[in-house]
């Protein structure tokens, strides 16, 4: 065999390898790809949302390509850096998306038709600090609260609590009965204790937006009583959690509840659609209890998800068409009902059909709304405040750190990089 | 025309010189054996002839044509390797016919040559077997067959018998000798075993430390070794060397006497000593005798009735005593007694 023949052989091998992959390259006239971490919603996008859009826009094909939530940021950033990300980017709230906008990855969307459907508050999470530029179309907010097993409550003759003492009395009764684990919460993954725990019950103590903004402006510290108290309450949850809660993962908590073994699930409204499918018992919900009867109640009503336009999209016009549709009331109705628990951020109220979702939404009228305290500005530096809340929230429930110690650690971490403008 | 001509071949690996200026002519039809201790460069020399290695300087001519820079396959050689080097995944027939196929010979011609070689080496029943299913001797015959089918101008053998047991070695030796007679081709054969060299060669080339010590017919090397090295290397048991006064008296630096040329002398022995050890082979007896000139080996035909520790006298005819100068080179026949 001569050298040329040999080289030819090698080239042929490479060619075969190339063809093997090239056959798989997608190539269609105008296809929009959506990057998202909501892989739970894949079926809903494919079966309900996208067909509705394509019906009115026959020239555009939309593909929803979600990544697992934990890998979303890393994968998206790599793809954006290399210019291979999809046309439409699902936006995390606040800094993660703000950073993308500042790096020029996302296009400003101020002039987009339908942006007027959103109040400035609804746009906060995807607007620059000076409030001038919005770069993602808000899609949904999620509300924290507690979901309970109605059958279990009926069997034990229990009623949803309104105040914190009632809540603990309730937990004590469930525990005494012994049939059910009172609270389905695990400390292993951290984000459960931070989101379902602290950020769920906290606003009642630090008075929602008032407390959150005071923290940002440096007028309050995490070591102040109103910020330490939620930790102290969380620590009291400990006896009411399931066996081995330290190793209980998020999925474990969900299973514990949906299989009917736990009575109460500290929740986010996004759980509704999943629980509807899996639970074989009636579901109820109550808002975070207040400290004493008659107090104003506060809920975490958190802008969670939005959609932006990749600056490198080859089809900006079509992508804008899609975003305009997302900003429309038609989309709001479709999305909020396809995914009960994801509440529209548009001004015009959306008719909801799911009773549990309606119940969550009704708290907007009776309680004061706030967003999660760590999301705006305060998680910009190192160490990261949100990550610290995950770790310390679990530490407090596990008994590793006393509430005051945990709060001191958080404040120290924050102080090391955050200098509030005074 | 010379079948093989080596002109001033040198070979260096880095700074070590393995071959220093080898000049040699091999006549058509000769069976030439390169012999020498391990590391003397004989295998390297053979590989240079084969084209498997490039000489640092000098020229190789095969059948009158320059072989320098010619790849092995184009040199018209056939080679038999020490480890047989049969292709393990090919059967015997394919092993033997590979080179012919490479040369593009017609199928019928390949078949004819294969059949002829198989006939000559009695490989007929083995043709479809894989090398792993053959005995050592059979593998060796296949390796030889692979060289034969090419009808080379020059056969090269690289220690082909060293992996065989003693009995098989003798048989194969005879087969190779027969083969040479039957084919009449020129053969170059490398071995470290002087018996193989003596029994097979038309001409022996003794190599040591990268240089040719002597070239000649086996019997010439035996009777008239050109230097101490050749004298010591050829012949078994080894030639006795005697230095000191004995040698000086004979006008030499060293005397050399083959064991079979020493005779037991009851009267006026030239050397006297005691028998330290005796080996009784039946056909011969080897005596190891401690004398004032050092230990001498004596070969006595037939059975010698000698007891260990017995005093003994030894003599040798002057005509059979080899004399070497202080550089180890052979001196002419001694005139003094």
């Amino acid at each position: 065999m001569s050298i040329p023949r040999f080289i030819f052989g090698v080239l042929a091998l490479i060619a075969v390898l190339t063809c093997a992959g090239a056959g798989a390259v997608w190539a269609a006239p105008v296809t929009l790809t959506i990057e998202s971490w909501r892989n739970d919603d894949l079926a809903i996008w494919q079966e309900k949302i996208i067909p509705a859009f394509e019906k009115t826009h026959p020239d555009i094909i939309v593909k929803f390509e979600p990544t697992a939530p934990t890998e979303y940021n890393a994968a998206l950033n790599s793809k954006l850096d290399a210019g291979t990300a999809g046309d439409l980017i699902t936006c995390r709230p606040f800094d993660a998306s703000l950073q993308l906008f500042q790096k020029g990855r996302l296009v400003p969307l101020n002039g987009l038709k339908g942006m007027g459907n959103f109040s400035s508050v609804a746009r906060t999470a995807w607007t620059t600090d000076d409030g001038k530029t919005t770069f993602c179309v808000p899609m949904a907010a999620v509300i924290h609260g507690f979901i309970y097993n109605k059958d279990a409550f009926d069997k034990l003759g229990l009623k949803p609590p309104a105040t914190v003492p009632e809540f603990f009395a309730l937990l004590e009764k469930i525990k005494a009965d012994g049939t059910y684990v009172p609270l389905a919460l695990g400390t292993k993954e951290g984000w459960e204790t931070a989101s379902m725990g602290y950020q769920n019950i906290g606003p009642t103590y630090y008075k929602g937006e008032t407390g959150r903004l005071a923290l940002i402006h440096g007028k309050a510290k995490l070591t102040d009583p109103q910020w330490v108290e939620p930790f102290a309450v969380l620590a009291k949850w400990r006896p009411y959690l399931g066996d081995g809660f330290e190793a209980q993962s998020y999925a474990d908590s969900q299973n514990l509840f949906t299989l009917g073994r736990a009575a109460i699930y500290p929740a986010g409204s996004w759980e509704i659609s999943g629980f509807r499918k899996q639970a074989t018992f009636a579901l109820g919900a109550f808002a975070p209890p207040v400290q004493k009867a008659g107090d104003t109640c506060y809920i975490s009503d958190h802008p969670d998800i939005a959609l932006g336009l990749n600056a490198k999209s080859p089809h900006p016009a079509q992508a804008k068409a899609f975003l305009e549709w997302v900003a429309s009331p038609e989309f709001a109705k479709l999305y909020a009902n396809a995914l009960p628990g994801f509440f529209s951020l548009q001004r015009a109220p959306v008719a909801l059909s799911d009773p549990l979702a309606l119940q969550f939404a009704s708290w907007r009228g009776t309680c004061k709304s706030t967003i999660r305290p760590t999301y705006q500005i305060l998680s910009r530096g190192t160490p990261n405040l949100e990550n610290m809340f995950w770790v310390e929230g679990s530490n407090v429930i596990n008994g590793t750190d006393a509430p005051a110690v945990a709060a001191a650690k958080l404040q120290k971490g924050l102080d090391s990089w955050y200098k509030p403008a005074k | 025309m010379n079948a093989l001509e080596l002109i001033g071949i040198t070979k260096r690996f880095g700074s070590t010189e393995v071959l220093t200026g080898i000049d040699l002519c091999v006549d058509e039809g000769d069976f030439v054996v390169f012999v020498g201790p391990s590391g003397c460069g004989k295998s390297t020399l053979l590989r240079i002839v084969a084209g498997l290695e490039e000489q640092t300087s000098g020229n190789v001519r095969i059948a009158g044509a320059s072989a320098d820079g010619v790849p092995p396959a184009k040199r018209g050689i056939g080679m038999v390797f020490q480890t047989y080097a049969l292709y393990p995944h090919l059967n015997v027939a394919d092993n033997m016919s590979l080179a012919l196929k490479r040369e593009g010979l017609p199928r019928a011609e390949i078949e004819r040559r294969l059949a002829a070689a198989a006939e000559m080496l009695e490989l007929g029943p083995l043709l479809k077997r894989k090398p792993a299913a053959l005995s050592g001797g059979q593998r060796q015959r296949v390796a030889i067959g692979r060289a034969i089918v090419r009808a080379p101008k020059l056969f090269l053998f690289d220690e082909p018998l060293s992996n065989l047991d003693a009995a098989l070695r003798v048989n194969t030796r005879i087969e190779i000798a027969n083969l040479h007679r039957a084919l009449g081709s020129t053969m170059v054969y490398v071995t470290h075993d002087q018996i193989e060299a003596m029994t097979l060669a038309d001409k022996i080339v003794v190599l040591n430390a990268g240089t040719i010590q002597q070239v000649g017919r086996p019997i010439d090397l035996y009777t008239m070794p050109a230097n101490l090295f050749v004298a010591g290397f050829i012949g078994s048991p080894k030639m006795n060397f005697i230095g000191g006064d004995d040698a000086l008296r004979a006008g030499a630096h060293t005397l050399g006497i083959r064991p079979e040329h020493l005779t037991l002398a009851a009267n006026a022995p030239r050397w006297s000593g005691t028998v330290r050890h005796a080996e009784h082979l039946g056909s011969d007896t080897f005596l190891y005798v401690r004398t004032s000139a050092g230990e001498l080996t004596v070969r006595v035909a037939g059975e010698a009735h000698v007891a260990i520790g017995q005093p003994i006298g030894l003599s040798a005819p002057d005509a059979l005593v080899h004399r070497f100068d202080d550089r180890g080179l052979r001196l002419g026949q001694s005139s003094a007694g």
Partner: protein, 269 residues
Amino acid sequence: MLAAHAVLIAYTAVAVLPVLFIVMNSFKSRRAIFLAPLALPGPGSFDLVGYTTVLKTGAFGSYFANSLIVTLASLAGIIAFGSMAAFALAEYRFRLNTLTALYLMLGIMIPIRLGTVGILELMVAGHLVNTLVALILVYVASGLPVAVFVLTEFMRTISDDLKNAGRVDGLSEYEIYFWLVLPLVRPAIATVAVFTMIPIWNDLWFPLILAPGEATKTITLGAQQFIGQYVTDWNAVLAALSLGIFPVVGLYLIFSKNLIRGITSGAVK
């Protein structure tokens, strides 16, 4: 000997039971998995719902084909290019030999994931994103160091006489490599194949970054997203995981015939 068997059986149980356990529960209903995890699937608990969910939801057939193409093509590339380089390093003496060998083995020490951004940029420049070729190139590059290392050691053990016999018979250097040496290091190739196959088949990261498209998704990525999607649907998760076990075990069994012979006669001695 009895004691030896006792120990081996005990350890085999430790090794295999957790795996069997996953497979076993994948055939049970969700309630049965949770309430009696140790029970064998029986008439009351046997349920194929996990498998039907998996097979109906994801394009698992296409994921599987992608994984197989990527794994086999990468192995082919690693073995072809790795053995060529190993042959050059083992067979020829040239000035940069040692340096080249060290250079090629440097990669054993750094996780290739660190080069993600650079790799992605490279693939973008080559218009290879969302193609299986991108994955194959990455896996070939990351598999080469070990392959070169192992195969070089093996190739040094091949008899010089054999290669010289080939040269005398008129084989070119390429043919000696391809036709004489390659078949003889087959055990080593099996070894390299098994040890490089595992991380390729199981990789999550590069499929996610380089080829997340539906058409190019691999089965590991598909299963992982499936887990994200049905994080509480244990039937489906266990079924997806069980399905993921078989192909890699099958590939192992194919190569393993040569494996022990391979590690025995080469690099690790």
